[in-house]
Symmetry: C2
Subunit: 407 residues, 2 copies
């Protein structure tokens, strides 16, 4: 290679792909002494380590099971796991069959596949502002434009979205939402907002991508129907639904086995399966079988345990925020999940504050602008309460508040 | 959804994506009684099941190791596994550092990433004819044109490739080859052919993707230097190399853990890491750690065992072909790997013959046209000797020969 390096050789779609600030952060903050409210990382004390060890051991002790678990397998995913998910989705009001389920390597892979399937060059994706950073990264190779889903705060109509997409040179490809305990805000869409979104999607004739990794982690308040279940209540069958539901075991059991799923019309699943085949042939069969064992034996118990622990941490963080934060700072009060969203007075810049916070207070968070497609939101930040130890939460929030107060 | 279904909503790039005939075949031929020479599937009797069980068990027995093995991890891959691969590549004449290694979910994922990184719309990829079907699928979402690498059979020049790519509307993005015991032909590029390819790549100023999953499976003949090692001998350092080497543990240990790697200049690895992050965050850390344990304790022994078993099967298949095949049929004589390539007299159609072969002889193979970007090669087929039992090989080839003879 000559001195110019490889850049001129890279494809046009690489222009939109940048390093994740969160992932880069994860490297920096792994210093002893730093209290991290940054990554959306499950508490490893909750991983059902012994049950996982037992499941691997049982599968590998049987030569016939091992021969299948260690072999190439079908791109759709393990049939028994897909059957379990069919039952799980039925419990969420979504009647479906195994043909409606694809196993993916976490929800992240599902988002990447959906971008590939639906976003043509110049198309517009509708996303919340702020939205999940990983979704923006997953869609980026398809070079979409973005438009903001309003929810109660704007009076955007289907026509206005359509016209904006046309001006951007394409069509609206889909609406993407994290309806429950959203990453990054911790907020949950109301039933009315879900129905409004469905109506908008019908008017625009677009699919809705319902990214639902946190929905099982509800600590209080009433369970909310999935958008897919609300759609099925009117359209009748999963194959007629415009909602694509992405589920994950990462936040319930462990993210380390990389097992998630998509539930959608069989036509969409067929095409996602082609994409899966071309992308990595199949997710590790042995990991899927281990996850099935956990789901069959521990699901409700594990959710209860996780909610109990995270509820304590959320309450500690909310109490500490109340106690320490300077006037003019506001925050979300999530009923579940992993995240609290903090808004500082206008004019503050949380990117600059992060440097200061790490240096002076030994506390890390994610600057909020990372979660905006247009990189606004400079006065916001995401705090995660799932990973830090209870005793670190009070101490970390107090130290952070002192930095925010200019102390 | 209305009656037209989702098709009008799918992105333009889905036009090029079709179901893999091989993967669809795998479903059909899993009937008892069918002898399959179709899939390129390792013999599960060779999977080091007990060592794998022991590795999972050891990792999960230690709470600290388990907490990391079951957590999200860095997109680049497990640092210790990358360090092992650095040593492994040094043994192949490629001096590199961990920054030159990315862990992928099998080689298939590496190919998908490389397509994304290098192929802009209308670009041309240079591939052998025939070539690995999975590579064509991996590149398909980027809608490339294809041009054929000649190797000894044509007199194509850099200029002629460049001109053809310009006519197709873009540039040549890269040359893709499986240099050792190729899928599907079983053939190995000579040293002279490797040097010619490097010269062509230099003239065109393009990278070479060296897909090398079978290279460890050499039964006889002299080891051949990797194209990357040949390039380093003249360009000096990995960061100056235009060769991107894709390695895999799938054919040596097990494909079920989905662990492969890319070795390339650090600039390319950085960009592939961004793609990895957006695609699935990271490959399962626990599987990478298990693979490291196997690599550290069993690598040479496992290769010796695998080569011994596959050599016997190859010899049985070559002997059976010699004994039974009708006049006018020719085949490759691979020095390793998993595949033999059969060429029937002009005018024969192996797609039609496959139906007949399964129905009349209970024998499956892959019709050769699946491996040609232009879907020619109707009189060819791929036979794999890795999976069938030794006693099935003689019987299956005899039965297949009888079908080919019109018997």
């Amino acid at each position: 290679m000559d001195n110019t390096g490889w850049k001129p050789h890279f494809s046009s779609r690489m222009r939109g792909m940048q390093a994740s600030e969160i992932r880069e952060l994860l490297k920096v903050i792994e210093q002893p002494g730093v209290i991290s409210f940054a990554g959306g990382i499950p508490d490893p004390a909750l991983f059902p380590r012994k049950a996982i060890a037992q499941a691997y051991s049982q599968i590998l002790a049987d030569p016939n099971r091992a021969a299948k678990a260690l072999q190439y397998s079908v791109s759709e995913g393990d049939p028994a796991l897909r059957a379990w998910i069919v039952g799980h989705m039925a419990g969420k009001g979504v009647a479906c069959r195994p043909e409606n389920i694809l196993i993916t390597s976490g929800s992240q892979q599902a988002l990447e596949f959906l971008g590939k399937l639906f976003i043509s060059p110049q198309d517009t994706a509708l996303v919340a502002a702020p939205t999940y950073l990983g979704a923006l990264q997953a869609f980026a190779p398809n070079e979409p434009a973005y438009d903001s889903l309003g929810f109660a705060t704007t009076n955007r109509t289907a026509d206005s979205y359509h016209e904006a997409a046309t001006r951007a040179g394409g069509a609206v490809s889909f609406a993407y939402v994290v309806p429950d305990f959203a990453n990054p805000t911790g907020e949950t869409l109301t039933r009315a907002e879900r129905l409004d979104l469905l109506e908008l999607a019908r008017d625009l004739d677009i699919p809705i991508v319902e990214d639902s990794p946190y929905s099982a982690l509800r600590f209080d308040g009433d369970p909310m129907p999935t958008i897919q279940a609300l759609d099925l209540a009117s359209c009748g069958t999963i194959d007629a639904s415009r909602v694509i539901h992405c589920g994950s075991f990462s936040k319930v059991f462990t993210p380390g086995l990389r097992v998630g799923w998509v539930c959608a019309s069989s036509e969409i699943i067929e095409h996602l399966t082609l994409i899966k085949q071309a992308s990595d042939l199949n997710s590790p069969a042995i990991n899927q079988q281990v996850m099935l064992h956990l789901a069959q034996t521990l699901f409700d118990e594990q959710i209860a345990k996780t909610c109990e622990r995270y509820r304590i941490k959320r309450d500690l963080m909310l109490a500490a925020l109340e106690r320490h934060m300077p006037e003019g700072t506001t925050w979300s009060r999530p009923e579940g999940g992993m995240f609290i969203w903090l808004t500082l007075p206008e004019g503050q810049d949380t990117v600059a504050l992060l440097q200061k916070s790490i240096a002076q207070a030994g506390v890390a968070f994610v600057p909020g602008n990372a979660f905006f497609a247009d990189k606004t939101g400079h006065n916001t930040m995401r705090l995660s309460f799932s990973l830090p130890k209870p005793e670190e939460i009070e101490r970390g929030i107090a130290a952070l508040a002192s930095v925010l107060s200019g102390g």
